[in-house]
């Protein structure tokens, strides 16, 4: 197979920047696509070439398959990396790439169809003897059907987008009267996020762990797993903090889950990077939840402990190379990541788009940040509120957490609201520190996490007063000085009339 030389990144935000970075590491040319709302986005600046593919709404730009393929052809790209979200799990796009003679950096369309659609994946996994969460395996046709299915498995239930992932198009419904509004919002969010409003239903497991296995397969029949990631720190089904190894996984659980994950991937003829998500209950029984047939947001923690570049591997596998033969990877130490969102924890996590006035990003030993923002950048209102991720590595779990906390303290974003202090509160919570938490932690401890730790607020008061004082002094000074206000002082008037007189005389 021909070597890839130029990659079009069919995405935006931090993941587009992250993929472009690896391309540069490998000496490959890069092509960005952007919507009209993203002209000023960092990924456009980071790439060698950039094509506008349409107006702000995703369906007219980042989901517009033909326009993206046109950009690929026009730029001479020989491959497309879809990132996560958008078209990354869209089999028809993978097929369209194939028809256009462009390599899609992801699994074959057939594997995406078998796994990408959550309902079909459940059917396939059940057939392969892999345990799945109770619920239906087909998209629900009507609210009535949803009601009947919910009665059958028993409340609480989860409504989920069949074409989705990443917590979008998902609603927990506790009681029958809430089913209708959950149905309505899950479907409309599914449609706007994935272009597909199909929704199915699962029994909601009480306080499970969310643990996922990173797998990698090449086109020569090799498939391996790169251990687990613990993603139980979730708020409203959105992952907030991810770590590896999982504090509850011992080697026997890890091996059992890894073997099932590899089996699941092989079952559908998978190639490339993929993640099998499991729910693990209190008795450490695990159920297949779904497979994400793409790179995950939280892949950096796996990269930290393995020393691998998963995007580089994706590219190598896409151009037909074999997975490196040293099969046994021995992950080292502990890594943990926090997702930074443009949202206001004090206002029920309301999105907070807008201009970033000042930005300080963390650095120092064993800290990594992946972001797509810069000072003066306006975070658009049209897209996902995640603006970046910060991750840290340590030899021990305690060390990794301490580093991440330090990194978050260094991280300053002004002009918009972010969840940074909320993330610090989560990392300081005794249950997280002890490694004894499941998916119920953030909702259960909501109030406490919002409150944060009591602290000395005197320095904040001093700084605020000095700031206000300097500001008011400047305003007062500009009022007293007419020149500064752009008004005409008597002196200016005199000098102007003298100048006019001179003109007339000459």
């Amino acid at each position: 197979m021909a070597k890839i030389r130029k990659i079009l990144v069919a995405n935006r935000g931090e993941i587009a920047v992250r993929v472009i970075r690896t391309c540069r590491d490998l000496g490959l040319s890069t092509v960005a696509i952007y919507s009209e709302a993203d002209r000023s986005a960092l990924h456009v600046r980071a790439a060698d070439q950039a094509y506008c593919v349409g107006p702000a709404p995703s369906r007219d730009s980042y989901l517009a398959q033909e326009r993206i393929l046109d950009a690929a052809r026009a730029s001479g790209a020989d491959a497309i990396h879809p990132g996560y979200g958008f078209l990354s799990e869209n089999a028809s796009f993978a097929r369209a790439c194939e028809r256009a003679g462009i390599i899609f950096i992801g699994p074959p369309a057939s594997a995406m169809e078998a796994m990408g659609e959550k309902t079909r994946a459940r059917t396939n996994m059940q057939r392969a003897g892999i345990p799945v969460v109770p619920g239906n395996t087909e998209a629900l046709r009507s609210l009535e059907e949803a009601r009947a299915q919910a009665e059958k498995v028993g409340y609480p239930v989860m409504l989920k987008a069949a074409g989705g992932g990443g917590g979008k198009g998902m609603r927990k419904v506790d009681r029958p009267p809430d089913l209708e509004s959950g149905w309505r919002s899950a479907r409309s969010e599914a449609l706007s996020s994935f272009g597909n409003d199909a929704v199915y239903l699962e029994k909601f497991l009480e306080s499970p762990h969310h643990i996922e296995i990173q797998i990698f397969a090449d086109s020569h029949g090799n498939c391996i797993h790169l251990n687990e990631r613990e993603c139980s720190a979730q708020r409203r089904h959105q992952k907030v903090i991810e770590e590896t190894p999982s504090p509850i996984a011992d080697s026997s659980l890890r091996e059992a889950m890894g073997a099932v994950a590899v089996k699941a991937a092989k079952e559908v003829g998978y190639i490339g990077a993929g993640t099998i998500e499991f729910l693990v209950d209190a008795r450490r029984k695990f159920y297949f939840l779904e497979m994400n047939t793409r790179l995950q947001v939280e892949h950096p923690v796996t990269e930290w402990v393995t020393g691998l570049d998963l995007v580089a591997w994706q590219i190598q596998v896409a151009q037909g190379e074999k997975l490196p033969q040293h099969r046994k990877f021995s992950p080292r130490g502990h890594a943990i990541e926090a997702r930074i969102y443009a949202e206001d924890p004090s206002q029920n996590f309301l999105p907070s788009p807008g201009r970033i006035e000042s930005l300080r990003l963390p650095s120092g030993p064993n800290v990594r940040h992946d972001s797509a923002v810069y000072q003066g950048y306006t975070v658009p209102r049209e897209y996902d509120p995640m603006i970046g991720k910060v991750s840290a590595w340590g030899l021990t779990r305690d060390q990794a957490i301490a580093r991440l906390l330090r990194a978050l303290e260094e991280c300053v974003v002004t002009g918009i609201q972010t969840n940074i202090r909320y993330l610090s509160a989560v990392l300081r919570h005794p249950a997280l520190v002890a490694g004894d938490y499941d998916t119920s932690l953030l909702d259960r401890e909501h109030a406490r996490l919002l409150e944060g730790e009591p602290q000395n607020v005197d320095p904040a008061k001093l700084a605020a007063v000095i700031f206000a004082h300097d500001r008011d002094i400047k305003v007062a000074a500009s009022r007293a000085d007419p020149d500064a206000r752009g008004e005409l002082s008597p002196w200016r008037l005199v000098s102007r009339s003298m100048a006019l007189r001179k003109l007339r005389r000459s």
Binding site: S188, S192, E357, V412, T414, S424, I466, D472
Partner: protein
Amino acid sequence: MRYYVTLGGKDPVLVEVKTLAPGRYRITADGKSEEVDALMFADRGMSMLVGGHSYSVDLDESGDEVLVHLGGNVHAVDVVSERRFRLRGGTAKFSLEGQQLVRAPMPGKVTKVLVQLGEQVIEGQGLVVVEAMKMENELKSPKNGKVAELLAVEGSAVEKNAPLVAVE
């Protein structure tokens, strides 16, 4: 200059600021004085030294509030001059009597209008759905009553605080 400073719902404290030299201040509150060395940078960053302690601060404004970013936290400190504090007095009363205006909590797009003009609504009933950053937010009625004004239009973009529905 003298300011009333409020933080975290506590009672306002009167604070006096005096410039001793450029970048040096004496701050007096509750009869106690402190000398502060504060170096402001062009990007609204500040290095503040107080009694041998060093603080790296970033500042931002939102109305009368100064947002102080310090050690991973954001403190919203309400700072108003003595004069403005008196003018503001008595306006803080909050009530659900009469007409209540439901406003857009953030800039976004109205994706759904769930009520009609003149419709009777109950407290907590969904009125309008506003979407921003792919998150849908259903705005609920603050009280039982009637939809007196319907300003939200499906599909239209709205700025933060734009009036959407009046319930009376």
